[in-house]
């Protein structure tokens, strides 16, 4: 009896923290015991299921190539990563780009610029451009998710690099894709957004360039990034779609595009978990569930 109660409590708890079943966690644990790790299977798992939070960072690091598939290389490679972080940071200190009180996010930006050979001379530094602001937004969100600065830097850097490399060409087409799926789900809402002039003013760069960093709270955001990191940028369209559907009444009630843009750029932080859950369901409905044996 007591055991039953405890078990019920436990699965209710798992439900709450995002495991739809203990089974999923177990199958992930089996995947993680492989040596070398099967990166493709890990991607598929992450596309289909939410990652248990205790394994999330590890899986992200493998999917982003920060750690190689061979688990017995992990200590060596982790040491290389750590040294590289320290080398670049120390150089920036010596050049006085950063000092003890510089915020980590700015340090990460300068490190990223140095490594990509895009660092200006100190005397020629300008205000951060749009691309820098996108980086900083993603960095601020990642900082909330990851404690260790070395891990944090590598995750931001590889996330941004992979995102631009894999999806750079698709990003400009995402607004059209959003319009398409909105016409399927709610053509009245689409018509209203179009005629009121709101459609062109939606916060596309916040949604599609920053991947909702600074828009969704981190607990919801990381479930979206699971999908982005494992290979989908389409998920971003469905999050945007579900946001529009969730605030339909409010959106239908206003014809001022600026007010719509302002509201959507500063979303209420309450029911974002539900929005993400519904968006993932919609995404599976339209794009199918990847059918790898996991």
């Amino acid at each position: 009896m007591a055991e039953d109660l405890q078990r019920n409590f436990r699965s209710a708890y798992y439900e709450k923290v995002g495991f739809r079943g203990v089974e999923e966690k177990k199958s992930l644990e089996i995947l993680l015991k492989d040596n070398p790790l099967d990166v493709e299977k890990l991607s598929t798992f992450s596309q289909r299921f939410p990652l248990p939070s205790m394994y999330r960072m590890h899986v992200w690091k493998v999917l982003l190539g920060i750690l190689p598939p061979h688990t017995d290389s992990h200590p060596l490679v982790a040491r290389y990563r750590q040294e590289q972080y320290e080398d670049v940071r120390e150089a920036l200190k010596a050049m006085r780009f950063v000092h003890a009180a510089t915020p980590y996010t700015e340090l990460y930006l300068r490190m990223h610029q140095l490594e990509n050979q895009k660092l200006m001379r100190r005397s020629e530094l300008t205000q951060p451009g749009e691309e820098d602001e996108d980086f900083l937004a993603i960095a601020r969100a990642m900082e909330e998710i990851v404690d260790d600065p070395v891990d944090c830097y590598w995750l931001i850097r590889c996330f941004v690099n992979q995102f631009n490399h894999k999806f750079g060409d698709s990003i400009p087409h995402l607004p059209k894709s959003l319009e398409h799926f909105l016409s399927q789900e709610d053509s009245r809402l689409l018509a209203h957004l179009k005629t009121s002039g709101s459609l062109v003013l939606l916060p596309y760069s916040l949604w599609f360039r920053r991947c909702f960093a600074g828009s969704l709270p981190e607990s919801s955001l990381q479930r979206v990034w699971d999908k982005v990191i494992s290979g989908s940028c389409k998920i971003l369209v469905f999050i945007a779609l579900e946001i529009l559907l969730s605030y339909k009444i409010m959106l239908m009630g206003t014809s001022r595009p600026e007010a719509v843009a302002k509201f959507l750029s500063n979303l209420p932080q309450e029911n974002t978990d539900a929005i993400v859950t519904k968006a993932i369901d919609l995404w599976h409905k339209y794009c199918g569930t990847p059918m790898h044996s996991v």
Binding site: P36, H70, D87, M95, L114
Partner: protein
């Protein structure tokens, strides 16, 4: 097994090369900063020596 060993070696080598590349980019940045400082100092010296 052979492929396995090869791919493991590749993973290690890539990470090592990446670390090396970062050092190279650090060198370039340091050099360009130094160059800038030296020319700044020369300008200052010139300005001070011509009263």
């Amino acid at each position: 097994l052979l492929e396995n060993v090869k791919s493991q070696a590749k993973g290690q080598l890539q990470a090592s090369e990446n670390r090396y590349l970062a050092q190279k980019h650090v060198t370039q940045a340091l050099q360009s900063e130094l160059l800038q400082l030296y020319s700044q100092i020369e300008i200052n010296n010139l300005a001070n020596s011509t009263p």
